[in-house]
Symmetry: D2
Subunit: 301 residues, 4 copies
């Protein structure tokens, strides 16, 4: 069992509940002899050296805070525990109320680490890399403010696949499959998968099906010369770059991996998903049945 | 039969093929004793007085030119004939090559007028109307450049319906059902219908079904106070206004109606639609069968 | 105000809660001097003469009971009040617990009548009508037991539209838009509309968009000669006929109209819909806002 | 390079073009000293001993013939070459006209073998296996002839996931992602993937998103006790069993793998897919660009 010596706290800087919670968390950790530091999660990229010397980072905020913390911690192999003070909290692990009761499990090592693949994107202008980033959720190439079609040539593993006429194209990880890609009609991939998901947003008279690619795939997206709309590149919901026609975005599986501390059991994903996704119909006969499958005690041949 | 005395030409100002075609069209009309005028379709709103004294407007360009011409001509009740020099040409009637052969039918009145409903939108800030417009295709309230969710409270006939968390909300006419609304997953409405169509774009964990309303319905969309994204209002693909939180957009059926000159027969719509929409699979057994239904000669009880 | 003299009760014959409720309802009506009769809703078509002499029919069961009662009562112009002992209860008006409190409103005329369009279908073999029926929800032409594609040529208003390669084709009323058509991806039409909705189920490489037609439209579906799968015709969820290749199904708006007694206010539809349809996400900021729109006191220009 | 000594031919027994083609193929192979045998592809399971002693099987027919041939050949590790005399031919490799020109490449070993994962399903009644099968495309648990909902409890890796209320549930391989699963709204998975795809057909007010699972996943589907509809189990489009309530279907990745002989280059999949899937719109600017990506000569970091 690993003993924590130094834990960082990355907190959302604006939500009112976050600052006092960060203090509470820091104080309770220090009472157990653990050194702590606290920074705004918006400075996550600037605290890499702090992250590097830490055994764990606790992110306090919503899924946006988790995404930022994950991108800062993944290259340093530091795991992240999320406390949800936001809305949906797909990525966080506990609520503020659960902190006190979760602490013993955390300190005694009664948790598991969930690894989630990330993707890397690189923008090339005239063949020269100009900017790059990693993403835990998705890389989105899309129209700017005006609701006009963008034309995006797409190549998978170097071969031309199709030209999308659409609002945008989402290239997502399994983690991102429950975020923007879900809104655009994509399938759900449980977080342990290593596939790359490609989903067009509002495709007009062009290829309109999501595609699921292997971990080793490379996706290249070129802004078609006839595109008149402004085109922007968004990474995990944050603007990375404005794009010009003929700019290329190349996306592939990153070497970095996000590591999340999990206190819930390993089947938490589907339950958590369906709590958010199923319609609010009144419960039906048979729907309340929970627990393991009738045959789960049997071995498969 | 109506005899044309004065015909206006509204031509796309940039496409190379458009200017010479406008000259050809003007010359051939003048040879039949018809007075003509020619303007850029981008000036359509500024030529209202010219439009007012004309019997017909010929729009030369793509669907964008048709939309502009239609918005200029509808309030004056002047019909529009579209010659397609653009790409899809859903709204235009003939190709440039067909002009010469179509002229006799046009002059001899062998055409019909297709009426298409329009919608009107009005933006209200603190309850005061600040800008208004008519649309032949659609009114879209959507995110600006950054791919962030907007929160849109929607009221139908004054009653609260739902809050959309989405990239945008399309309120469309039947004409618009084959444009952006189609890309966003909406149903197809033939152009003679008088319904109002409501389609969310990339809705996230909120109401995700298109709705079809009656002609008399009023749709109000309020930008929710928690929306942090930039919100813009687009009418027929052109930016009308930037919106603030609590701004209201009210949309209802316009009193104006677009009138298109049609030389094809009255069933043209489905054939034209499916030529664009069906997949490019090789023809299958039974698929080439055309013409009237086996029972079309029978009266229904 | 109409005074009820004779009220029929059509009750689901198998659900345990239904028979005692039917007795309670009958007794309370008779205490107010109203004559009653009670039959199984499965005999609805055989009790037409009873229906004919009645002022109201109370259907006790789920949506299936409502559909049967509606088909029996519509031709006689007798309104139906539904008491829900089933699951979803989209069509019913009150729960069993609400019966006692609803009775005064019912007897004193404090209700309104909601009219809902119906469609009529007729099967023709070699051009000769062989069977016909009315539907409140939908007419479905679909594969039989084996999961094989059926090929369905479709004609709208006598013109060929497309050939569907699919599991089935749903032709629905606005009422049916929240039933099977919804599951197959169709849009929602509020019940006061008069449109006809056409939705393919699992279309394979063929036209895959729902279409919304005008009230006056006629839809003809012909089982293509190459279809090898068994094809069946289902009306409001009940098997009407087995079909052969070249059989035609013709569908158009019925002269009959279903009339439902409503005690809730006229805006009930969207609220009731979204209670069933929206995802079960935790409530978000801004989502709980209810009531009328901020601008609803203003008149539209 | 492998030298073929014995090649089997499995031909569709009814299509008129198939029998003469089978003779042509057999004759040309025998002219090169190769022993051949020819059987109906409908007898594929009964010719296992013939298959076992062969180096290659040539399937002549459509995708149905390929599916049958694949299921017969996979357990014996014998590769299959498909000649398309059917309609879509997603799985076949050449047309009848290409046979003569393809023969040298085949005999000289200028081909590659594409491996495609298969799934295995087993039906358990009262916990006891009663029937099992392998599938190259999909296993479908669905309603019988009447268009009624089935209720299917679904367990992934032994944990309860959701109850589907639907026409059916498709559990598919990547190969099957372009078959029935595509019609039901599923994503596309290129054939080299090893994921299991789960897609509900016409889900009603229940979980409606496709899910993509890992190769190691086990899916269990239990027919819910409240299901009143007839439920059938279909494997690769053929009826395997009628199911009762509480019957379980367990599905997991098979040990067998289908091996297809490919003469086209390794990027054939997307091109072939989009030829069938993209809409038939006229070609647009930028759409005709083919070949490799602008950056395909560059190595990725």
């Amino acid at each position: 069992m690993q003993r924590f010596q130094r834990i960082g706290i990355l907190a959302h800087p604006l939500r009112p509940a976050t600052a006092p919670l960060a203090q509470t968390v820091a104080r309770s950790l220090e009472q157990h002899g653990i050194t702590t530091w606290t920074r705004s999660v918006w400075d996550a990229v600037r605290v890499r050296s702090l992250v590097r010397g830490s055994d764990l980072v606790i992110a306090i905020g919503g899924d946006g805070a988790m995404l930022r913390a994950a991108r800062a911690c993944a290259p340093e192999n530091v795991p992240v525990l999320g406390i949800n003070t936001g809305y949906l909290g797909f990525l966080t692990e506990i609520s503020p109320e659960e902190w006190e009761n979760s602490l013993p499990a955390l300190l005694e090592g009664r948790y598991w680490i969930e690894e989630r693949m990330m993707i890397r994107c690189e923008v090339r202008r005239n063949g020269v890399p100009v900017i790059a980033s990693e993403a835990l959720n998705d890389v989105v190439i899309s129209r700017g403010a005006i609701a006009k079609l963008v034309q995006l040539e797409t190549y998978i593993d170097g071969g031309w696949t199709t030209t999308y006429y659409c609002d945008g194209l989402i290239v997502a990880t399994p983690t991102g499959s429950t975020a923007y890609a879900l809104a655009a009609g994509g399938p759900i991939l449980p977080p342990e998968l290593k596939n790359i998901l490609v989903v067009p947003v509002a495709p007009h008279l062009s290829m309109d099906r999501p595609m699921v690619l292997s971990q080793g795939a490379t996706v290249e997206v070129v802004v078609e010369p006839h595109t008149v709309a402004e085109v922007v590149l968004t990474v995990d919901g944050e603007l990375l770059a404005s794009m010009k026609t003929l700019d290329q975005v190349v996306i592939w599986a990153s070497d970095s991996v996000s590591r999340f501390v999990r206190l819930r059991d390993r089947n938490y994903f589907y339950r958590s998903l369906l709590d958010r996704l199923e319609p609010r119909v009144p419960s039906r006969p048979g729907q309340n049945r929970l627990g393991n499958s009738p045959g789960s005690g049997q071995n498969l041949p």
